[in-house]
Symmetry: C3
Subunit: 179 residues, 3 copies
């Protein structure tokens, strides 16, 4: 029996774009991990198409799949060892915190198709939201203003503003009230 | 008070085998990450005892603990940053997808014994199944044909063919129907 | 609109301490991954303030955030690729096993404050306990003697002695009975 070849959705142009960014980031982004290079790293991402507001931080160990699909507001932080897997756009608001080892994942396979085609949907995380350590945010998810995705939680659906969710799959825990 | 020494189950021969593979893969496998080295990487794994069918792919960042305990069918893919921890055998069928950061774990400790002995059980993943991003598959698990383990799900029991499971611990979500 | 600056809680002295340890461990700890360097690695950690009992092991790929906040009893093991994130103290008893890829996390943000202040709470893991692969233990948690946190489980509350918990969030599964 023969099994048909797997087909992905990227053009050669897109693949080369990715390959050049990988090589570039290996030389000009990842090694610049000291705090004094904070602005250098932002500059490198902007050079490759990211839109980044004032005072935002991206750690050197963050894996940015496609800087051209990344938008960040002001004073937003992408923490160490995060996985920003963005064939689809990732849009972060202002004062958003993406904690260490968390994983924003915009792509999935269409498992109702025999071809198992890869496709993607935008992730949007609004102002003051916090995605805590080792959490996972799936394709197409919008996280409301001030919402908290607890450590190691997995989110596949939208999260309401100013709520705290946790667990896998993530459930509503409580409202977030600022004191 | 004295605490007794921890005893593992590996012979010196097995430990040396592992050590040589680690050194070898560091030089001849891991650095060959460009797409043009796809067949080279498969060749290296076969040299160390893997059985791999036509058209299958193993990414350079996949951590293969013991290639001699790995079997893959045709057109099966082991994705980037996956953990293939196989003191016990791992047998993947045809057209299986193991997505990035997922973890196939064949070993555990006997926690009913004072010695906390390490032991292992085979993992089997059948044709057309998909283990999605950052999922976990435990020792002894068989995943049925065409089944899907959702992103970040943790599976400790067998998964029925053509079903979709998710969460930690993984629960049945729905049947998978091809359109 | 202006967004106020994020303030963290570390003094410059603490930051330098951390930076020096990072550089030091990059040269004197991480590369020493062969089994013959087992005692060397323990010596390096003790040099930086860890308290470590007889016969304990720390793998070279374990990420120790602050050795000066780490206490280990006798014959305790911190496995490969673990994340020991300890701005707060982490105290491990005797014969404790911290398996590969698990994450002990002492810090969190005060999300009821507008400043989103970082703070930390001690983690304590008692004799004979086992934190299995890719599990997560949150700030302030005490894990009782002989308790087991199953693979990929996430623990945010204390775990009773000689019980087995699993899932995310972790639930009681059964008592652990030695045979």
């Amino acid at each position: 029996m023969e099994f048909e070849k797997y087909i992905d959705n990227y053009t050669i142009k897109e693949k080369l774009h990715r390959m050049f960014w990988n090589i570039f980031s290996y030389i000009f982004f990842k090694p610049f991990n000291l705090p004094i290079f904070k602005k250098w790293r932002i500059l490198m991402l902007k050079l490759w198409g990211s839109k980044i507001g004032k005072g935002s931080v991206v750690h050197s160990s963050a894996k940015i799949w496609a800087p051209w699909n990344l938008e960040m507001g002001q004073r937003t932080c992408i923490g160490p060892h995060t996985i920003i897997y963005n064939p689809g756009k990732i849009i972060l608001g202002n004062k958003v915190t993406i904690s260490q080892y968390s994983y924003l994942c915009t792509a999935t396979h269409n498992y109702e198709s025999k071809l198992h085609t890869l496709y993607w949907k935008e992730i949007k995380i609004n102002d003051y939201a916090w995605v805590a350590a080792r959490a996972f945010v799936g394709p197409g998810v919008t996280i409301g203003e001030g919402a908290i995705v607890g450590a190691t939680a997995s989110v596949y659906k939208d999260v309401e503003a100013w709520t705290v969710v946790g667990g896998n799959p993530a459930q509503f825990i409580k409202k977030r009230i600022l004191k």
